[in-house]
Amino acid sequence: MPKDSGIGASSKRREDIRFLTGSGNYTDDINIRGQAHVYFLRSDVAHGTLKGIDTSAAEAMDGVVRIFTGADFEAVGGMPCGWQVTDRHGQPMLEPKHPILAHGKVRHVGEPIAAVVADTLEQARDAAEALVVDIDELPAVIDMKEAVRDGATKVHDDIASNLCYDWGFVEENKDAVNKAFEEAAHVTTLELVNNRLVANPMEPRVAVGDYARGTDEHTLYTTSQNPHVIRLLMGAFVLGIPEHKLRVVAPDVGGGFGTKIFHYQEEAFCTFAAKACNRAVKWTSSRSEAFLSDAHGRDHVTKIELALDKDNNFAALRTDTYANMGAYLSTFAPSVPTWLHGTLMAGNYKTPLIYVNVKAVFTNTVPVDAYRGAGRPEATYQLERLVDKAAHELGVDPIALRRQNFITEFPYATPVAVEYDTGDYHATMDKLEEMADIAGFAARRRESEAKGKLRGFGVNCYIEACGIAPSNLVGQLGARAGLYESATVRVNATGGLVVMTGSHSHGQGHETSFAQVVAEMIGIDENMVEIVHGDTARGPMGMGTYGSRSIAVGGSAMVRATEKIIAKAKKIASHLLEASESDIELKDGAFSVAGTDKSVAWGDVTLAAYVPHNYPLDDIEPGLEETAFYDPSNFTYPSGAYACEVELDPETGHVSIERFSAADDFGNIINPMIVTGQVHGGLAQGIGQALLENCVYDAEGQLLSASYMDYAMPRASDLPFYDVDHSCQTPCTHNPLGVKGCGEAGAIGSPPAVVNAVLDAMRSGGKNVSHIDMPVTPSRVWAAMNG
């Protein structure tokens, strides 16, 4: 019987009422009396020496408040990077300066050069056109392999080269891995590109800086996934504002997908300029600006090899990846191709020896950072394409080859430093085989062929590491932050609760699912619990939402805080009931004495806490409010198996997705409907990457796919009705809810299945194409089949 409330119930998303009726409060809805507007003049060349900016004509124009250039920020810190990777030789990565406004040089199209603050946006824009910018254009470095050649033009003159780091993982395993390749019965090699993407959240980025002169207090309203992190990074590293004088608010946020994790120049600018102009300053990104200034995602070029023994057991895996950093290091960029990617290369398989090499490269392009899945989709794509290729080379069934090599015993320590706590990969594969109706495929293929089409079937497995992460571990790996989460549970006198969480919801439905957890723990109605997030002045601390960590880490903190509440409430109840504390039971919102009919309602206990007339004041304080910080002891490891069935038009190369099945293991599930929605959205983005989305630069560093005229977003008609299941559940063993996280799975798990299916369709048409790069557009399919 499905539950109708609490953990496991598909409670309707309460936040949708305001989102769908136009009563949300997004950053762009925030307008402060007397605010000015900023327009950023952005570089239209990819690389050049910035010789000067003449602002005189612009300054004289109507409505102009002040014009800022790089020189105004000399006394201020640059944009910080939150993760330092150590290379193969024990050296720290190269970390170039990242100015708020370009200084000395411009390094990518879209880099802000000057900021015009004016009474209205149109005035700011008019004045920006009157700025005279003197740039000596330099050759641009766009291709990663070109960028690391000797003598290549350098993106940054003050660091040694364009090679940010050359990372080897696990360096000590390298020789053993190479030896295993020499001894292998079969080696499968694959070269592939993980295409660059633009995140494209529905709401573009917005920042409003405000300053109160009387109290010297700064406020930044921003479209962020982690306002506390922005407060720390911007306050401590950029502007030198102590946290108690800086409030960061991220109200309703219309999608993030990773690109709203990072601290951006525009945020620091608006905060700084509000004080400098003594006036609130607002910036709203246009969609065109978003293409040129939101951190992009993916962009890896990889060679991957698999060594197999004579019985088709995986013996060793070796990869060589070039990862594009863009022109500067975005906040978490260095961690994505390393610790979020290399550690996942074991996948679902018991490959004993793995060596991962990653060269991170600076180019004259927009910075690249985490995008839904961040590193894990790249790992999954390589591995699951490679295993499929191996199966075809060996003439064995791709599912059988996978099953043969599955990890079956848990906990399992991989050769790439992580320990999977639980999982059951055969179970999700069994489920998938049932969902995908493999038996019916041959008939469906015949139907397609009767129409002159080809039909293909592809599968893949995935494993991801979510719930990032144990702070001491990530500290060793180079993180410059802890990755715990916090929650404060405030119980009001009349029994209602407000939970302040450091997780941030930008579409995920936390206000609903988090409330379900607390309501279940106490046994009260979900509507008695309010979830508050996104404001550093309201919540204690927060590391924010990314890496599918909210329920696993933020939810755990909330559980711990609620446990403290319950423990204290029991003390109060035992006093009221004149019974021993150990005999007090909490059930359905009432405290009772075990084995008796004596009980006291939740509301009476909470009232006693705030009106402590009859109260154990000698033992406990009045009030009912508790805070907990939760630092996980391990990552969580969701996993699953996905299948895709495509129909391919051999004349045009057009691929349509006819069926898509996803069998996931997310451990315990709080709200099945929300989980299904998360998987659906992830699949749309994964299929978008596989079939449509591509961020392309020309050799001069101009972005060719700079608008929706050329950047293809997936639309409803590109997607099938998904078949999604999450009944296979191996609960996480180390967090109190047994949850693993589901936000990124769809985006991680779907691209290889799509590409595997396309290649299968081509094979059925007699075209043995061993690989095709994403996005699998009609023109590429046609070229591959006619090449």
């Binding site: 045009t652 079939l691 591509n694 392309v696 060719l704 050329d710 009609p778 023109s779 070229a783």
Partner: protein, 264 residues
Amino acid sequence: MYNFEIEKPATIADAVKALGRDEAQPLSGGQTLIPTLKARLAAPSVLVSLHGIDEMKGVCLDDDGRLCIGGATIHSVVAKEAQAHYPALAGLAARIGDPAVRNRGTIGGSVANNDPSACYPAAVLASGATVVTNKREIAADDYFQGMFATALEEGEIVTEVKFPIPQSAHYEKHIQPASRFPLVAAFVAKYADGVRVAITGASEDGVFRWTEAEEMLSNSFAADGLKGLTVDGSGMISDLHGSGEYRAHLVGVMTRRAVAAMGG
């Protein structure tokens, strides 16, 4: 967007007069022009809206049996009202952009703009239609003069397009995945005196007639007959969505499919 003045004439005559003003430009559905203005890529000082000119709106048959569509008629009206007379044309209009675009964008704007990937120019050319302006009537074969280039003179407005109705016709398009404009589309129209084939999306010279295909189809109206016929990829658009060679290939595929859909 830069500031501009807007005029809203109610007659063609007043529109022509308003267009005589310095740096004036017609505004129809604004589906092309407004984004251009927002990106500050154009700076007309006066916009002359054609939206309120009733004599430029509507779909009707003239005495010669031609389907006449007013220049300010929106795509969604064409989709509905041309259906009974010229279903291939109605179908084309029904599949332009999305509902918002179809409820604003107009045939006059599309034909005046002559985007190399636009849909209407293929129908106009394949139908041997006549483009009517405030000054004259221009045969389709003379009207389209290359990418974004037409026979229109400064201040001249497309008031109507007159389509001879074919015995049968079909529009087959393969979309560019991002913009969903045609990557290549073929409009095939069969008349008593021969078959006309117009191709949009493919050529660097904009919409064109595929005369070799027309000859073959006029002799024998069969998709299979076109199998061996190819167009040269060298003059074709080559971009991140497809090479010239791919587009040349699609010209053949789209044309054959259109013919097959017409029963040939």
